[in-house]
Symmetry: C2
Subunit: 226 residues, 2 copies
DNA sequence: GCGCCGAGGAGTGTATACATAAGTCGGCTA
DNA sequence: TAGCCGACTTATGTATACACTCCTCGGCGC
């Protein structure tokens, strides 16, 4: 594997998993030393991350991990809803793939899967398989690349959501509806079900964000009183 | 200006204006010599152009200017319609800018402007001002960046369209409807009018493409007979 | 004549040295 | 004491040498 890919993947993972939270400043030399490679591939990795919108240039200081405010999350989902609904519509129209029949079976089994918290990662992998299948079936390079552009930001945002099993079960049911609509070739239902799912996901995330913001301000207030 | 920016702009312009048509192969050393800079900034420019989708890597041979087939153009517009309709909707909802009143006046004068063919570039500049105003007013970084991602490809595609004054006049009328809807705050009309405009633009391009394809095959047939 | 194999070459991938710009901190001055 | 000016520091920007990979083309064997 190329050193620039290694650097890109490593830095990207750190950002996505909040090892490097928003506001973290990166410099070329520093990262080159940490990763034991030269500045050149680091530079390339920085450029790619900046193009992804994960890093923004900080004139004269380096590059900083981009912010992920409540408003940003809303904007992210507003666009995601538009894109993924349309993608679901296109996929349902084509209805050309065996893969969705397989996914249908798996999503039917998802509630059973989710009875144990240990299986969460399996469920997330299933969702990733659905995403990949949709990417493959939309048949529009531009649509796929527009959606892919959003994914890293969504991964970052997901960590802000409560992963309570109640929400996960509901999400599984929403996903099932989407896959059913695709298999049936019901384009409008696929689009609407996707929009429903995403709006509910957004709502869930925002509730988590607002809740923890309140908790944070409460604990800050408590500290001031102590 | 940085050498990498110079290289990026120069190469991009060549691609957009068909100086380097689809299929042209670029190599780092060659371009570095041509532009009298070192490989490093050329490399950065290549990376940016590849991220734009204007270049695709050709393993072991260099990078090739990406293809722009009829299907690609259709895909491009399918996504563009979704995105720009939504953008127009958002802008109409916000209705916060003086700029659209100015644009309204200018688009009302557009038919008079278009009476002379010399003024076409002024008209194109006006459309660019509208695009910029919408970019500024949508208020979503993700929406703007998704739309911007498509622009270079649209510039390339535009060259394939007939620029007959009949179509230009019709386009001016369609733009006027869009701006009126934005000024009125009629979000649904703004979205629908944008979709109408873009579908008609697509139709115009496709007719040109198909027509010249027929012409090309005819002349090829004539050459075979000669 | 067809296919495999290897040497050559063209191209990218990486390291590193040097150039340059911008931000910061200290000192000078009013 | 506050503000400005300038050198220093630290960062990025660029050039270039070298390493490595892969494509290509010629020769050899079957």
């Amino acid at each position: 594997m190329r050193a620039s890919d290694t650097a890109y993947t490593a830095l990207r993972d750190d950002i996505l998993h909040w090892v490097s939270p928003p506001g973290t400043v990166f410099a070329e030399v520093e990262q080159a030393q940490r990763l034991s490679i030269s500045r050149t591939p680091v530079r390339e990795a920085f450029a790619r991350l900046a193009a992804d919108g994960l890093l923004v240039a900080l004139p004269g200081r380096g590059l900083v991990v981009s912010d992920l405010s409540r408003d940003t999350i809303v904007e992210l989902f507003e666009l995601r809803i538009v894109l993924e609904s349309e993608a679901a519509r296109l996929v349902a129209r084509r209805r050309d793939a065996q893969i969705f029949l397989e996914l249908l079976e798996d999503f039917r089994l998802a509630p059973a899967l989710l009875e144990r918290d240990d299986n969460r990662n399996e469920y997330y992998a299933l969702v990733a398989r659905l995403d990949a299948a949709i990417d493959k079936a939309v048949g529009s390079q531009f649509m796929v690349s527009a959606i892919r552009q959003l994914r890293p930001h969504l991964v970052r945002a997901r960590r802000l959501a409560r992963g309570d099993s109640e929400r996960l079960l509901a999400a599984a049911a929403e996903h099932l509806t989407i896959v059913e609509a695709i298999v049936d070739g019901d384009a409008q239902l696929a689009a609407d079900a996707t929009a429903v799912h995403l709006r509910k996901s957004l709502k869930n995330i925002l509730e988590s964000v607002d809740h923890s913001a309140i908790a944070a301000s409460n604990s800050a207030a408590a500290m001031n009183h102590s």
